[in-house]
Symmetry: C2
Subunit: 108 residues, 2 copies
């Protein structure tokens, strides 16, 4: 996609029956702007990025931000930052689709 | 603010009568997550970041993405990326408040 252009993230979501769907909206060496699409029950397991900060934003639905030893509810419009070295994941424990913007700096 | 924590961006907006209000939600060397709050008529003039990519997302209201020679409407939920070296700005030409998430990688 050419930039700058105005993007409605929901138009670019990829939904998969077998696992979380991923889309890249923008990527450079500095920044990755992606979408993670979770059908009910799907998840992205606890993981860590070395040397990268990650920003999540819920675009549609509601999910659980998975941290070490706890899960924190997030709903559409809310953000969370997992700084370098902080384990994090996402789980869709709801009955509806969950779409999350996932931003990494720098890009992996 | 400690991270990871769930953030509702609208709770952190700073609105100013004289010019665009700015808030920082997260900052590291890699990533700046900020809010730009525009009362009707307020703007952030065309500017360039050297060596940084910028992502805008409209959180509330509608605005104009200012580019060289044109202005592109953006409404709540929409994104735009201004890659390194691409001049960009924002203008609130509406009668309502405009709140924009502004993400820079790396941080200035």
């Amino acid at each position: 996609m050419d930039h700058p252009s105005v993007i409605c993230p929901g138009d670019h979501a990829v939904w998969r029956a077998d696992k979380m769907g991923k889309t890249t909206l923008f990527q450079s060496s500095r920044l990755l702007v992606g979408l993670n699409a979770f059908e009910p029950g799907q998840f992205h397991a606890l993981h860590v990025h070395a040397g990268m900060d990650k920003l999540y934003q819920v675009i549609e639905g509601e999910g659980l931000l998975v941290l070490e030893g706890r899960e924190v509810p997030m709903k559409a419009g809310e953000l969370a930052v997992a700084p370098d070295g902080v384990p994090h994941g996402i789980r869709n424990a709801s009955d509806h689709r969950l779409l999350v913007l996932a931003i990494l700096a720098p890009a992996p």
